[in-house]
Symmetry: D2
Subunit: 138 residues, 4 copies
């Protein structure tokens, strides 16, 4: 699995002279989207099948400051998955030095278009198996 | 018509120590939404009726810098409207001093859910009349 | 203490048709800024004195979806404060119905311009006393 | 010169199901930053030398809708440059099909840390020469 990279942009900075903390939550989403694509189940494919995966919870601990122009790597891992709930963890590092910028996690469920809770085990077996195998890999 | 006000937020600043220029484009949308609500045709109502109003063009000229914590007023005017195309202008000022921060405009059309061009004159007569009268007011 | 309100904007929505989850983290900041102003120590004043207050950790649990046009209230409380670390909690509700949209918290420290950890107890006694009294109020 | 590419993210979409129009203004900045790096004068280097380059004006015409997951290419050209003012143009295309998504331009000046207008011709001769040669290339 290739680790996702993000180049920080000027519009992500704030007047403290660093990347604003809310952007890390967006980077988690970027890395999550990338992971799903690498697993072969792009989020656009899931949405096309009528499955959406809202965020139930997100957490981020900021360890050091990220500056404009820096490239960060975001490593995403499937921590828990049972067909109904998915928990991912993220590690954000300076891509060059490896210095940890932040760690975090997010929790998700799966819904159909009407907002009903889905079990991927029944609703999307290929996706289910991919999440299972991604969880077991580490 | 009450002039829309926006209080600038920390997350809107960049490392130049001022509000990032992209936010003004979002403020135009805030002010536009507010104008439509004041006219009695909230954008959510139009979307509920299946009418969307994409932005065709946007322009902003930055006159002075906006700082964190400042409240800006954004005056929106219907410059042109013919049932098919809508053109709005915006004037962003420091709400206290009246100093001009930026001026701009945006152009819009109207589409149905399938993406077909609509004439509001036929698709939404109350909205049509409201835009017409808003245009003539100044 | 007046509870902060935020009107959700179109640019805050995503293609799920709801407000994107990253915006809640920004609303926490809006509400935090507002609390500090109400306490009489606007964040701009602290920055002018050379004190910055970075976010060490942020957490948000999403309870129900927020839609475009909705006004949310965000109640902020000082949960813990010892001069060096500050912990705030947030409760986001639909301002009309009171339905809970999200709960969360954030942790902060205080730094001088050179990035050295500060104790507000020494660096800004008025701010220190205000945080202390805000903590004890509930 | 390599043409800049941007992969659209979920958080860039709005409830119209397309990328929100304000993001294109941010992509212009991404492409501008990338161009300057390719020219050998990264924006961080200019800021380190105390030169900032605020946006005086920005314009964007939206030609077709950009969807989540799509990669766009953004071609940036130096249209005008005289040492004091810089004008850039942008062409946003679907990176695969070449379909034009938007065209736009931005105008900039150069300031020192105190906010005084600079002529790059005197303040940063290498940058001046690079802009001149970039302008003449097309």
């Amino acid at each position: 699995m290739k680790i996702y990279q993000h180049k920080t942009q000027y519009y992500e900075t704030d007047q403290m002279g660093i990347v604003h903390h809310s952007n890390y939550i967006r980077w988690f989403e970027e890395a999550r989207t990338d992971l799903m694509e690498q697993l072969g189940m792009g989020y656009d494919r899931m949405e096309a099948e009528g499955i959406i995966s809202p965020v139930l919870e997100v957490n981020c601990q900021y360890k050091s400051m990220t500056r404009f122009g820096e490239t960060v790597s975001i490593e995403t891992r499937v921590e828990k998955y049972n067909g109904i709930r998915l928990e991912l963890s993220y590690e954000v590092k300076n891509a060059e030095t490896g210095e940890i910028r932040a760690v975090g996690n997010s929790k998700h469920c799966f819904l159909d278009r009407e907002g009903n809770l889905l079990s991927l085990k029944h609703a999307d077996i290929p996706a289910h198996n991919l999440f299972l195998s991604a969880m077991q890999k580490h």
